[in-house]
């Protein structure tokens, strides 16, 4: 039914989009392998997804004070996120408007202005060009510095999570997150949360979508890939991850809610703060939560994990982005989040559990990276395309969503389903073929 001599590189963009429409079938659970390794798809993704949607760039607590800044990648381009003297958070393209040199090379710091290392142009941290060396002498009276301000990036935040976009026509972040905000409230807005330390960064030879797919809906793999965790007694059983709900909303967002939990996974001392920040229904979910794993489209994955370490239960909250570097390569950037008002000892134990489980040395994390690498290698190149190798995403297609759940979205009362991956790829395909 398809062309058998397929060569995506030979196709025009229009033909490639037609081919995507013919071969990617989220609703019936057929996702072709070539999406994970093809250069043309990767290039198209950059234009159609990463330059169009909101992409996570950091947390407000990473720039807590006036004149604090961090530098981050926004879809392949370096940006400076600053908190101005007016307390406003801004995003600026990290490029001097005079000749294009990168202005700032530090990961973080505190500065009210940035000076270009090339010719010394100086920019205030709101983007205004405020200094040009020898200006009067070499430009005369004609240089209009107000036209030389740094390029500004749209930055919006929700519950401390900062997102940026290159798309001036993108809908508001609020609209983009939509119903999914109900769950983000529990993850990022249950209390005053702060990022501890700098993010951790490492590179994996993997397509970025495998990470997003894994977090958005793949609870099934935990039985096997993470079998060692049950063996070590850190979770009760290998099928621990099946019980709970899988939920998705529009725009490809989705999460898996592990419930019930006989233990309260968070600091008891903060119950009043949680109640003040959450609705009664959201607090009910929090009280019964054993884990929460999800993905905000396209590449921000988040996690609350509750495990037993040294005989004591402890939870940790983290986020990571799967930053595409190439079709077969990504940088993983991981943040640890903690309740600002939690007891110091609880924070220390929570960080310890994060490092042990989901940092680059994490004993959950490391087994995933092995899988991601091998999938990418197998899906890359021409063969998977011409042989039309296709992955089966039909798990749970026979199930009907439940209607009595207290939160919004399409909800299934079993985490072992691939409804969220189908939803992720549906939105991905919508953007790619627009």
């Amino acid at each position: 039914m398809y062309k058998t001599n397929i060569d995506l590189e030979e196709m025009s963009q229009k033909e490639a989009i037609e081919y995507l429409n013919e071969t990617v079938k989220p609703e019936t659970g057929a996702i072709p392998a070539y999406l994970l390794g093809d250069q043309k798809i990767y290039d198209l993704e950059h234009k159609k997804v990463f330059l169009k949607t909101w992409v996570f760039i950091g947390h407000e607590s990473e720039v807590p004070n006036k004149n604090d800044f961090i530098t981050r990648d926004l879809s392949g381009y370096s940006v400076i996120i600053t908190r101005g003297a007016d307390n406003q958070i801004r995003g600026l393209y990290n490029m001097c408007t005079h000749r294009g040199m990168k202005l700032c090379r530090a990961d973080a710091g505190n500065k009210s202005s940035f000076t270009c290392p090339y010719h010394g142009f100086n920019f205030k941290n709101n983007g205004d060009c405020v200094g040009v060396p020898l200006q009067k002498d070499i430009y005369g009276a004609d240089l209009d510095k107000s036209q030389l301000g740094l390029h500004k990036i749209r930055v919006e935040s929700y519950k401390g999570l900062l997102f940026g976009t290159w798309n001036d026509e993108a809908e508001s972040l609020d609209a983009f997150l939509g119903d999914f905000k109900w769950y983000i409230d529990i993850f990022a807005g249950r209390a005053e949360m702060e990022v501890m330390g700098p993010p951790q960064r490492f590179v994996i030879h993997s397509n970025w979508k495998i990470g997003a797919d894994n977090f958005v809906g793949d609870s099934y793999h935990t039985m096997v890939t993470h079998g060692s965790i049950a063996k070590l007694g850190m979770v009760p059983s290998a099928t621990y991850s099946k019980k709970g709900y899988q939920i998705h909303t529009t725009n490809g967002h989705g999460l898996n809610l592990g419930t019930p939990n006989p233990d309260f996974a968070f600091p008891e001392e903060l119950k009043d703060e949680y109640k003040a920040n959450l609705t009664e229904e959201q607090y009910d979910v929090l009280s019964n939560l054993k884990n929460m794993i999800g993905n905000i489209f396209p590449n921000l994955s988040f996690l609350i994990s509750h495990t037993k370490i040294k005989g004591q239960l402890i939870s940790n909250t983290s986020m990571r982005i799967w930053r595409p570097i190439a079709a077969d390569k990504m940088e993983v950037i991981t943040w640890f989040l903690v309740e600002k008002n939690a007891p110091e000892d609880w924070k220390r134990r929570s960080r310890e559990s994060f490092i042990l489980t989901f940092s680059p040395s994490g004993i959950f994390e490391q087994d995933d990276t092995e899988v991601f690498t091998d999938i990418t290698a197998a899906a890359s190149g021409t063969m998977p395309l011409v042989k039309q190798l296709t992955f089966n995403y039909t798990m749970g297609l026979h199930r009907k969503p439940v209607s009595e759940f207290i939160g919004p979205g399409v909800v299934y009362d079993d985490k072992f389903t691939e409804a969220n991956q189908r939803n992720f790829y549906r939105y991905w395909l919508d953007l790619m073929t627009k």
Partner: protein, 169 residues
């Protein structure tokens, strides 16, 4: 340098070579037996600073932050049938050099700094990973043996170019 310090430097060089051999030979139990019960095993996150301000690593975030119990969990895990990250194990080669005796009290304690280069090869992959950095180690002398009581590994990359740290530093 006194003869005593020369001999001690040699002794710790040999200690570090032996450690490298045990761990490269994936003798995790043998390696673990070199640790002191008060062990602190840390690898801070390295960061890019504006200028020459130091330290240029985080004081509050780590890629490893283990005590003896957590390190035991990692070693035990590698012996389950599910530790996929190291099935089959990476081929590693730990090259230890620039060994310097910083502090030394005979038969009691020592501080030893060294440089470390880890070569890592996995499966049939022709790519290899290189992990380089400085170790700041502390030792306690107990029952006639030097045991490692602290390791602080300062890695030379801010973005680590290896798929995971399922291996030890």
């Amino acid at each position: 340098m006194t003869i005593e310090r020369m001999l001690a430097t040699y002794e710790f060089e040999q200690w570090l070579y032996r450690e490298a051999k045990l761990i490269d030979d994936i003798d995790f139990d043998g390696w673990f037996s070199l640790m002191h019960p008060t062990l602190k095993y840390q690898m801070p996150v390295r960061v890019n600073k504006e200028g020459t301000e130091r330290p240029d690593y985080a004081l509050d975030m780590f890629a490893f932050d283990d005590d003896i119990e957590l390190l035991k969990i990692r070693v035990d895990r590698l012996k389950t049938d599910y530790a996929w990250a190291e099935i089959p194990p990476s081929r590693t080669r730990r090259l230890v050099n620039n060994v310097r005796l910083i502090d030394y009290v005979p038969n009691e304690k020592a501080v030893v700094n060294s440089y470390l280069m880890i070569y890592r090869s996995r499966s049939t992959d022709i790519h290899h990973d290189l992990i380089s950095g400085e170790r700041q180690d502390e030792f306690i002398y107990e029952n006639g043996e030097w045991k490692l009581s602290k390791r602080f590994f300062i890695v030379d990359q801010t973005t680590i170019n290896t798929r995971n740290l399922a291996i030890f530093v």
